[in-house]
């Protein structure tokens, strides 16, 4: 059976990372254009068949939904013991009563962990470092390549000690 690591490695060889396929390869259902409350970015829920489903708000731009999907996937990877029937994240990526799955088990520290992992999933350190070493050092170009904002790319480069 494929592991999270193997699937992550498989999808981390080229930019932009295909986060949708990564989710599906893990056996998780995906609705990336879900009709959700405007205050909700996305959610992950446990279905009747014991499978998980990740949904991202259809009203948000695709780039933002990419981060939402990565964030929910990070919850699946890191906090499967806390998800229960499900959890949702508002626009600030915090569990909220406005959504379908308010989950008080998920605390701010868990959201922080999910954000960090989501950033790593969308911009894998190994891949970014390899590109950087090959000479691709234009912030704007790199941001476009990974389909993230310039600010996000700047953070990743700083995190990896490249900028």
């Amino acid at each position: 059976m494929a592991t999270v690591k193997s699937i992550r490695d498989q999808h981390s060889t080229s930019a932009p990372v295909n986060i949708e396929q990564m989710i599906r390869d893990l056996g998780i259902e995906l609705d990336k254009k879900a009709p959700l409350d405007p205050e909700i970015s996305g959610q992950i829920e446990l279905l009747e068949n014991d499978k998980y489903k990740i949904s991202a708000n259809r009203d948000h731009h695709y780039y933002r939904r990419r981060f939402t999907m990565a964030h929910e996937l990070a919850h699946y990877i890191l906090h499967s013991d806390l998800i229960g029937r499900g959890l949702d994240d508002n626009v600030m990526y915090r569990s909220t009563r406005e959504g379908n799955f308010y989950n008080p088990n998920v605390e701010q520290s868990h959201e922080i962990e999910a954000n960090k992992l989501a950033a790593e999933l969308l911009v894998p350190g190994k891949l970014l470092r390899a590109l950087w070493d090959e000479g691709e050092r234009n912030l704007e170009q790199l941001a476009k390549k990974f389909q993230v904002s310039k600010k996000a790319m700047e953070i990743r480069l700083k995190t990896l000690g490249l900028h």
């Binding site: 949708e20 970015s41 992992l117």
Partner: protein, 183 residues
């Protein structure tokens, strides 16, 4: 901690042994014999076993006490042995695991990060513990978090900065993409 437990265990065994010995002296030492012990004459014993003899002189309680002491000693000794062998096996396993983890870190991480980690036992143990708990082997990220937490490297990001940066885009950035039809 383990040293303290071993000392306590040893002291307990010795204490029980000393109490047993003192009781033995109390029972069998005869002041009328100028410091000598009660001598059991073979004729007097007349083929009786020690229990029958003890019964005759009314000292079965001594036999019971000695048997109880022997039982207690065996129990304590057995527990001690099990504890010691368990401790020994765990140490051996820990040494192997530690070596493998260090090799892994040296191979996978950049030199400066692996040196920092391997040279800091607290960070190293925390990294391994979290890595094992998570089972997803994003160890480099985990290690960086730990090193940030313990102040070995300056914190370069905050939670707000990550979620905000990854979910907020300029107009021109948004204009670039958005086509996810093929995924």
């Amino acid at each position: 901690m383990m040293k303290t437990t071993a000392i306590i265990l040893l002291c307990s065994i010795n204490a029980v042994a000393i109490v047993g010995l003192l009781y033995f002296l109390f029972v069998f030492w005869d002041p009328l014999m100028n410091g000598g012990f009660i001598i059991i004459d073979n004729e007097f014993v007349d083929g009786k076993d020690s229990v029958a003899f003890a019964g005759e002189i009314g000292r079965l309680d001594t036999i019971s006490l000695l048997v109880a002491y022997l039982g207690l000693f065996l129990i304590v000794f057995t527990i001690g042995s099990i504890w010691y062998s368990h401790h020994d096996a765990r140490n051996a396993a820990q040494a192997v695991a530690e070596k493998q983890a260090k090799d892994y870190i040296s191979d996978e991480f950049k030199d400066d990060l692996s040196k920092l980690l391997v040279g800091n036992p607290e960070a190293f143990r925390t990294a391994i513990r979290r890595g094992l708990r998570n089972d997803r082997v994003l160890l480099e990220e985990i290690v960086k978090d730990i090193l940030e937490e313990i102040g070995h490297i300056p914190s370069q990001r905050t939670d707000e900065s990550i979620s905000e940066a990854f979910s907020t885009f300029d107009e021109d950035e948004l204009a670039e993409g958005g086509d996810d039809g093929d995924r």
